[in-house]
Amino acid sequence: MSNEWTNWSGSVRFSPEEIAAPASERGVVELVQQAIAQRKGIRIVGAGHSSVPLVQTNHVLVSQHKLKGAVGHDPASHRVNMLPGTSISEAGEELIKLKLSMHNTGDVDMQYLAGAFGTGTHGSGRTLQNLSSMLVGCKLVDGTGELRSFSLEEHPDIMRAAKVSLGALGFFTELTIQAEPAVLYARKEYCSHIDVSLEHLEELIDSNRMFDMYWYPRSDRTKLRTCNQLGEGMDDIPFAEKAEQSKGWLYEILPQFRDLKYEEMEYIIPLEAGPECFREIRKRIKEKHRQYVGWRVLYRTIAADDVYLSPFYNQESVTIAVLQNNELEYKKYFDDIEPIFRAYGGRPHWGKKHSLAARDFQELYPEWEKFLKIRQQFDPEGIFLNDYLKKIFGL
């Protein structure tokens, strides 16, 4: 019987020897120990939203889908223990029962927590860090089959490696996340023109907790999206036409359901370089690509952090994403845009299309070697490596 596995967009397909779905921590430990004994590789899969072959394996693919929900809560610190297969959406539902919330979410909320953290998935907000910043503790089964526990306070260096680790340190069995008291948010969408939007871009970014700009390459129109706690942020955008507004808990109103499948390349570049990089990309798309590309380009911001493999490492950042329908040619488009991102010092999103390899990452990540050293300690036999990660890590 074929075990073919396909990612969300359909561009990553492979047939592992076995697809396992442990329902308990004990089950995960046994699975890892069995793989070590049989000298088999293991890759861990979440919701399958990534469009690079991070989870590809010929051996054992382990799904987290039976490891869901909140399993502990410290009311004093607002910390909650979650299982790794809890989706962003489900995490929001669990947290609100405790009158808590995540500080941010992405536009998509189907990803599992472990996968979203592990790939540096981010959302938008000049003062907000990516989702992995919520991770303050964890339990994981490492490449020797040992179940280990870590916390930000006791193991700061390990946590700096673990937060964004591409599933290369081991199998997370529990995640301790730092939540915050839930408050109501207002989400507003406006339509405008790119010239006006760029003229006010800094003000829009600085004045709103969360701000995204979508540029439509076939019309030069923009959609501006703000999301603020009630009573905060820009009350209105006088130079744009309001199209939609909603009020509610963050997890309910921020993500947008999207059934339409696409391929995506996103790069993270220094905040100050954002507008210039965007202008160059816009020019290139209008000159060369909009004959076949109708998808919007997404412009967001995220705060700096100190996580070894975070694309936001030590850098206030802008993220710019280019998208294409998954059934249409995307490679020529992405290949042509990528050098522009690279010229501005861009680091690619770990879960989206890019062409970089180890030598590129070594230059882009100042603490690259520290991460590799910790990876070696956690998984000396490399059971959590696949060909793609070997290429990324230069192993």
């Binding site: 023109h193 076939r218 019309s219 030069d220 004959q291 076949y292 109708g294 998808w295 329908n325 249409l328």
Partner: protein, 129 residues
């Protein structure tokens, strides 16, 4: 008294081709093809679009809603669900609505600075099975 409604449920056109080049400030002066749909009925119109090409399989599944007794105009350039319609490529289209509607297709070609506009007839299509 029952009010009169106009149009047909099935429409088709054969001469679509969105110009690639544009001049002038966008979106006003972008080269585009615009479908205008008039719904005179008291019900919301759900219009399904399928596009046909010279050298590839038809692409269907585009859906447009038009409120009761309203018109809706939209640029075919902007459609991306399920796929963006390529510019500079000949295509035809079939529209199937759940209620009678009237359909018009307009092409705006701004490839040269002297703007030209051209309307294209869309035909009522009864369809044969």
């Amino acid at each position: 008294m029952k009010s009169k409604t106009y149009g047909k449920k099935s429409w088709a056109f054969a001469g679509g081709c969105i110009p690639v080049d544009s001049t002038g400030k966008e979106p006003d002066y972008v080269s585009q093809e615009v479908l205008s749909i008039l719904n005179t009925t008291p019900e919301e119109a759900l219009v399904q679009l399928t596009f046909f090409y010279t050298d590839k399989e038809p692409v269907g599944g585009y859906e447009i809603k038009v409120a009761p007794q309203r018109i809706r105009m939209f640029s075919i350039n902007d459609l991306i669900d399920p796929q963006a319609v390529p510019l500079g490529v000949p295509y035809g289209g079939v529209l199937e609505s759940n209620v009678p509607v009237v359909v018009q297709l307009t092409r705006q070609h701004t490839g040269q600075s002297a703007l030209a506009l051209m309307g294209i007839t869309v035909y009522q299509a009864d369809g044969n099975s």
